[in-house]
Amino acid sequence: MAFQILIVDDSETMREFIIRVIKLSGFDIGRCLQAADGRQALEVLRSSWVDIVLTDVNMPVMNGEELLECIAADQMLRTIPVLVVSTDATSHRVDRMMSLGAKGYVAKPFSPETLRHTMEQLLGVPQ
């Protein structure tokens, strides 16, 4: 089963890298959608089927925390697992994002295997 992914990051460079890493990891990727901030992400989520969201924290317009709050408040979206992918791996930030509804947290730098394993866990794919 190929999964539809939404990558939310204000850096096009990082979005392209994450797509590359997911493909490299052997994860069963279907359509890969992209958004440059939380607001764009919500538009995509409300118009397209998405199995999992990978989001950065610091973004203009709407950051990762605000995106998580909007997803948690939306009955149609709250079941979609959100994985935070961030440079900030302090316990302060991880706890904050998990308390807002994130289901996983991957700190940069990360290996393809780490990203794949975490995504499969969140999607219930047998390991």
């Binding site: 440079t87 316990s91 940069k108 730098p109």
Partner: protein
């Protein structure tokens, strides 16, 4: 404080380069000698529990190699040449974040967006060294990468 973080900076840099850029340096040292030739510079500030700034200088050929490795393409490809300053910005962000997280994992951390610029061989170096600082140099066949991490007084 800088004496504590000095050990984390090269470790964070090597882990970032190996994991996400598939690059391993030949030599790691505390040298602050400016890399030769044309350079790419990146700088960013951080605040929260700790305040300060991070800077890097990288030889342009090495920056192109990093970009090619990051995207898994040839150095001459459109992807590598069109995005290589963006790749160096990501490199700065990741090394700084990894070093600070390792230094104080319970801190509140807020990293600003990195700023990158080109430096011709004859141009003066930016002042990354103000305040207390840690520095390290990673050498590769294509050139070298010089890193600075400085803390401001609160």
């Amino acid at each position: 404080m800088s004496s504590q973080v000095v050990e984390f900076l090269p470790e964070a840099a090597q882990r970032t380069l190996e994991t996400m850029f598939f690059s391993v340096p030949d030599v790691v040292s505390a040298s602050t000698r400016r890399p030769a030739g044309d350079l790419i510079a990146a700088t960013l500030t951080f605040r929260g529990s700790h305040r300060g700034h991070f800077g890097l200088l990288v030889s342009e050929p090495l920056a192109r190699t990093f970009a090619a490795n990051f995207f898994g393409c040839d150095e001459d490809s459109e992807m590598a040449s069109g995005h290589f300053t963006g790749v160096i910005a990501e490199l700065a962000n990741m090394i700084c974040g990894a070093a600070l997280t390792q230094f104080d994992s319970s801190a509140a951390l807020d990293l600003a967006a990195p700023r990158t610029f080109r430096l011709a061989a004859a141009a003066a170096s930016p002042d990354f060294t103000s305040g207390s600082h840690s520095a390290c140099c990673l050498e590769f066949p294509e050139g070298s990468l010089l890193l600075y991490l400085s803390f401001s007084q609160k």
